[in-house]
Amino acid sequence: MMKEDTISERLYNGIIKENPVFIQLLGICPTLAVTTSAFNGLGMGLSATVVLALSNLLISALRKVIPDRVRMPAFIVVVASFVTIVQFLVQGFLPELYKSLGIFIPLIVVNCIILGRAESYASKHSVVLSFFDGIGMGLGFTLSLIFIGGVREILGSGAFFGFQLLPLADKASGTMGYTPISIFILAPGAFFVLALLVVIMNVVRAKQEAKGKPLSAAGNGCLSGECSGCALSATCSGKTQAVAVEATKGGESA
């Protein structure tokens, strides 16, 4: 097992072990909405990665300055600043991508992966580790979006990254070819593909665990009472008794 809190462990953690989309099921709104093609997934994922890494960095640097009571507004201000920068950059240099992502770039501000990492990791760990935590989570998000977008694009328009894999059938002229199943680039297709991929992920994980080689330790923290690494620790109502007691004690002393 890898050592906790090293740079490589953070990257592995974000991409595989606690993959934000397939394991933690966070950031589902942009995941479902923008993955109509692999390229859109890549654009959305990279935008979110930049914001994640930079906001993790700044929040970690400011973690001793930000008072506990106003941490949420403070995080939002930091995240929103970076999102605005990214939005202008995308709008300026990739106008096509900006058009297809639309409202979902500004909405990165309220992406729960970013706030989750700020709350559960960056506000408690060092600057370098937080930065790489952001990179890891961002890459995990990006790869998942490319994966979902790729499956949807191949099934729904017979292409991958805009490259036509199969000639399309034309009903009017009777040309033979691939008839795109267009439901996959519409909203229902997003749910079908995400659900199927999560099912496959869970089957793989269950098999690995049965072999005694757990691929992911997500959920194990709940058993051992270690809530610090969990993105849901702020809102989770199922904390173990010991942790809850500890939390109230900490609150009193602070």
Partner: protein, 324 residues
Amino acid sequence: MSDLLNVTSSPHVRAKDDTQRIMLYVIIALLPATCFGIYNFGWKAALLIVLTVASCVGSEWAWNKLLHKKDTVKDLSAVVTGLLLALNFPSSIPWWMAILGGVFAIIVVKMFFGGLGQNIMNPALGARAFLVISFAGYMTDFSEYPGFVDTFGGATPLATIKAGGLAQVDILRMIIGTTPGTIGETSMIALVVGAMFLILMGVIDLRIPGTYILTFAIFVLLFGGYGFNMDYLVSQLAGGGLMLGAFFMATDYVTSPITPTGKIIYGIILGLLTGVFRIFGGSAEGVSYAIIFTNLLVPLIEKWTVPRAFGIAPVKKEVKTDEK
């Protein structure tokens, strides 16, 4: 729970009805419409029906085999799903589309939710919606109509009426069924004969189809824009999938309410929605979406209409007791 433990107190009524027998009755009841569809649309319709049924049965068998579950093919529900789905196809769609529809109906709409009895919507209609959204061009193309020399041309009677051509529609042919449309929906007579059989055998009762058709008829008379025009009313009733939907798909045991009052509410909502979709919607047809949507309301309808058990006083809402 084991079947042995799950026994209520006597007296017990013995009935021969089980899932397999009921499904068999439904298949028999669909035979007139199926045969008429093959007569009307030719060998391609027969091929599509065989392929869709085979695909449904094959998917169910493969799913149970792969997941090491009890084989449920023998209850014939997959055959009914396949048959209903095929009757919803235009005869011109490619063969692989029929197979894809069958797989989707059984695997995604039925088995993902836990199999027969757990599905939230009618599998055949779910698959039809999937295909219509995916391949709109194929699924709404009724131009291939090999049946007779003096054909109507491309449009279905309902589409003709929607375009304002009520005078061009031949009511008698719509009732007999020699019009373009999906394979099984065209003949009102064949469908009603099948439905009579189901009602006589006690498989379905008239509450759902009765309220459905009545509500729809009233809605059409009020908002159709033709006033009390018998031609318009009859062509709306005989055209499209109304008869097929009302007698065979809305009455699906799994996705319709079990309570008597619930059945009536369900039928009224179906009639209203179908009327709204057909008259105010963009498309000429609205039966399948109306049924799917109302299927999703069924748990709510059943919750509203739980009958009061004999001898038990009605439960008063939020009775506050003094805490002492």
